[in-house]
């Protein structure tokens, strides 16, 4: 036995223990998901008798019941999230472009004001925001949720995009304006093609944020028909005569869109978050 092979087996051992540790943590992290999935296929008798393991017969109808219970909530949430994401990115890109490329009277002050929003604390303006929406007659409308999400997302997106656009070589913009492109032309032909990755990362984060929003919809929405997912699921889960199968199926269905988005954008998401989140 040479010293070298001893070291090798030691490092093998370290590697194995790392894998074991990670898998152990993953086991716990996935446990709620596992419970959600396997209970979603059980009826209440199966749920009472055998909580832990999947059990035949599988009640696929639970998923149908769950779907019917939350499909309106899903539709509302999709509408709010899609509009929020698109409008947030559209406004933020234009604003970031202007701040990145032009100096004009008050530009630094306005940008400073914009950054000041980062210092604000959501909970402090929750109550006045509610009274504002009431005065604007926006309570109980999906529009209110879109507006709040778009205004809340501006600062972060403008800040990130401005830094990004400033790094685009000036020649590209000069070339575009020689070709007769105006501001929108430059944004369309220069900024958008170059900022696909960053725009998608920001867009995904905004979409997930809006999808998961709970407090604001709870304050704003009265009409059960207009509930978004968070409050909808909460109202479903607090009934007395609970059918656990359909309830868990509803939880699963509510999670699917985010999982799908993640699966399709995995590479981007994992990379974008880890490289872009903290630089310097």
């Amino acid at each position: 036995m040479s010293a070298k092979s001893g070291m090798k087996s030691k490092s093998m051992f370290a590697e194995m223990s790392r894998h074991t540790l990670i898998l152990f943590v993953l086991l716990f992290a996935f446990f709620p998901l596992y419970m959600m999935l396997q209970i979603s296929l059980k009826d209440n008798a199966q749920f009472t008798n055998n909580l832990w393991l999947p059990m035949a017969p599988f009640h696929w109808a639970n998923w149908q019941v769950g779907w019917l219970a939350i499909r309106d909530f899903i539709a509302n949430t999709v509408v709010v999230s899609v509009f929020s994401t698109v409008l947030t990115l559209a406004f933020a890109t234009i604003t970031a472009y202007v701040f990145a490329r032009y100096k004009f009277f008050g530009s630094e002050f306005l940008f400073f004001l914009l950054l000041g929003v980062m210092m604000m604390v959501g909970v402090a303006s929750l109550v006045p925001l509610f009274t504002l929406l009431r005065d604007l007659q926006l309570l109980n409308t999906l529009t209110a949720l879109v507006i709040l999400s778009v205004s809340g997302g501006q600062v972060m997106c403008v800040y990130v995009l401005k830094n990004f656009i400033e790094d685009i070589p000036k020649d590209l913009f000069d070339a575009a304006s020689i070709d007769g492109a105006g501001d929108f032309g430059s944004i369309w032909n220069v900024v958008l093609p170059m900022s696909g990755a960053i725009l998608s990362t920001l867009g995904i984060l905004r979409f997930i944020g809006t999808w998961n929003d709970f407090i604001m919809p709870m304050l704003v929405m009265r009409d059960q028909k207009l509930y978004t997912l968070g409050i909808g699921l909460m109202s479903l889960s607090s009934g007395y005569d609970r059918q656990w199968g359909p309830l868990m199926a509803a939880y699963c269905i509510a999670s699917i869109p985010l999982v799908l988005i993640f699966v399709f954008t995995m590479r981007l998401f994992v990379k974008g978050l880890s490289s872009g989140a903290v630089k310097g």
Binding site: F91, V121, I208, L229, F269, A277, V278
Partner: protein
Amino acid sequence: MWRSFSDSIKRRLNCYVLILPTIILVGLFCYYPALSGLYYSFFDWDGALHREFMGLGNYMEALTDKRLLWAFFIILIFVVANMVKMIPSIIVALAIFHLKSKRSQYLYRVLFVIPMIIPGVVMILMWRFFYEPNVGALNRLLDALGIIDISSPPMWLASPYLVIPSIIFMGFPWVGVVSVLIFLAGLQGIPDSVYEAADLDGCGAFRRVFAIELPLILSQVRLTMVLMIIGTLGGFEQILLLCNEFGGPNGVANVPGLYMFRMAFMEGRVGYACALGMIVFLIIMGLTIINEKFVRIDK
């Protein structure tokens, strides 16, 4: 001359027009509520007709409000608990980072993101189900192990003694995806030369972690900590979903955000609620400024 002047005016006007949507949205829905919240906090206001100026009255009341003091005490416990709960993320990030195989590094990253991508409300409701006294997973596990008797089960979320530990335990194993990814980014930023130097000095694994890696990702740890503290201080979604709007049994799990919410929307004390919001804001501000100072000294 005139033409270029008018052109430049036109371009300036153009700038203002282009940024108008953002400015209006931010002004109306970020600045106006914050400022009007400050204004309302000086009034005794029920949110409708009755509005009476009372100067610092709301703030004076807050200083002696025993329920608010309790809420701040509880939130302090949660902040400390959440700091401890950052440790698993650091350990997992270190474990993933030191894996030899790049493929399994990537695979584990992806696997860790999946449970975290589940909507927060769903996760909280799942934990509420785990804690259900009669049908919940936790009590049935303990019953099967013979630790408890399911006919007189512990009421995890309804007992004033158990509710705080139960809320703290929630989310076990406490691996936050964003923090893991942020820590990983920090670890990847450590130059190879540092590791080579450590190897030459015969630095062992434990010393490597405590003398090199933790100090070098300190700025990432601090960033996550700041985000966590801000989120914890202002948050009340968890407690609202797990318990109720009163903060659980006897209100022991009442936190400042929840107290503010209840004052405004259930007890019709909008002015007082705005003052509470301002107090939370000032505390977060203060902590942020202190943290900024520390960061400066560090660099």
